[in-house]
């Protein structure tokens, strides 16, 4: 299948990235942005009711466990390829 980046259909995916992620700057240098998380919260609530919650109510703990499994798995298993390339 082909990836999509149609700006309407993937707005939520964009927001997940642009509002929460990216390079972090030392807090001393930047204007402290008390308003920013709010922008994210309001906008997202309006867009899609996108709380991180699983319907069927039952699988929230499962979701947490899964992420724990992954992080353990990651520690135990192969180093990502880039470390080999960069020779960090």
């Amino acid at each position: 299948m082909e990836p999509t980046r149609n700006s309407h259909a993937t707005l939520v995916d964009l927001l997940d990235r642009v509002l929460d992620k990216g390079l972090v700057i030392n807090a001393d240098l930047i204007i402290s942005l008390a308003g920013v998380p709010l922008i994210g919260v309001n906008l997202r609530a309006a867009l899609a009711g996108m709380e991180t919650m699983l319907e069927y109510g039952l699988m929230k703990e499962w979701d947490v466990r899964t992420r724990v499994w992954e992080s353990e798995h990651r520690k135990k298993n192969v180093e990502p390829i880039y470390t080999a390339v960069v020779g960090r």
């Binding site: 204007i31 308003g35 991180t52 899964t66 992420r67 990502p80």
Partner: protein
């Protein structure tokens, strides 16, 4: 006072103290892998001129603004800002190939003895080694979003028919008086929950292994509420070599064609999920 009003009051109070009249700031879109001193034109938020501030062979892509955050209660306005932020990062990506994106609304301030411009330069200088390391990590790659959903009803059905115990309970309920039937139903639900989680576990590990092969790195995100009738069981951000995304797409196609499953594949995104943190 509602929570939202409280928040807003707090925000405005903060804004009032932060916005010092006349102070200069630089809104930063991304750090790019080039030492050019160049303008990208008036493509920025509210049509500001976007330009690069270089240090050695890296640069910060910025526009000039007052030292205060962008803020609006109008969601359409905020949406347009966010889209523009993304477009500028895209333009930088197209021009220089590898960029480290920043999140929306990051504004570098001036200080008593130091202009905002100088602050940006000092920041680049101070973080130079780290930026180079991160640029190497994401060079030649892009981020893709992969979300796997299943239809709980379809999955539950197939689990029911595959489990003799569930089938038996399901049958027995019909013959029981009301009170007893209720207890049976509780048992059935618990059993079902357990079976669904076990199945979700299996699927997650299976899919994770298959997807991991085509990616350089993966971040597991929280699952989110999906449209009615669907449940998200996997939410990944994947860092993928640009020439390998078709292979990933083929693998995802296989998952997408499984009965009761659906895959959402988005991107390419700038590598937002792989440039933050340690």
């Amino acid at each position: 006072m509602s929570l939202e009003t409280q928040h807003r009051a707090k925000t405005q109070a903060t804004l009032a103290t932060e916005a010092i009249v006349g102070e200069e700031g630089r809104y930063v879109y991304c750090v790019a892998n080039a030492g050019e001193e160049i303008s990208l034109g008036k493509i920025g938020i509210e049509e500001h001129e976007v330009y690069a501030i270089p240090y050695k062979d890296v640069c910060a892509v910025v526009h000039n603004c007052p030292a205060q955050p962008y803020h609006s209660d109008d969601q359409e306005v905020v949406k347009a800002w966010v889209m523009t932020h993304q477009k500028v990062v895209d333009a930088a990506c197209e021009r220089w190939g590898t960029v480290l994106p920043l999140s929306f609304d990051t504004v570098i301030r001036e200080e008593a003895e130091k202009s905002a411009e100088q602050n940006v330069k000092d920041w680049l200088k101070q973080e130079y080694e780290e930026f180079k390391r991160r640029i190497e990590k994401v060079r030649g790659k892009a981020e893709y979003g992969v979300q796997v959903f299943w239809e709980p009803k379809v999955i539950a059905q197939s689990l029911t028919s595959a489990s003799p115990e569930i089938t038996r309970l399901d049958e027995e309920i019909k013959t029981k008086p009301k009170g007893l039937a209720y207890m049976y139903r509780q048992r059935l639900e618990n059993l079902m929950k357990h079976e669904m989680e076990t199945k979700a576990d299996e699927c997650f590990k299976d899919f994770y292994g298959r997807i991991r092969k085509y990616t350089d790195d993966v971040r597991v995100e929280k699952t989110k509420k999906a449209e009615p009738g669907l449940q998200m069981i996997m939410n990944l951000s994947c860092l993928v070599y640009r020439d390998r995304y078709t292979e990933l797409g083929e693998e995802l196609g296989k998952i997408n064609r499984m009965r009761g499953f659906a895959v959402r594949f988005t991107g390419p995104w700038p590598p937002y999920s792989f440039v933050g943190g340690a």
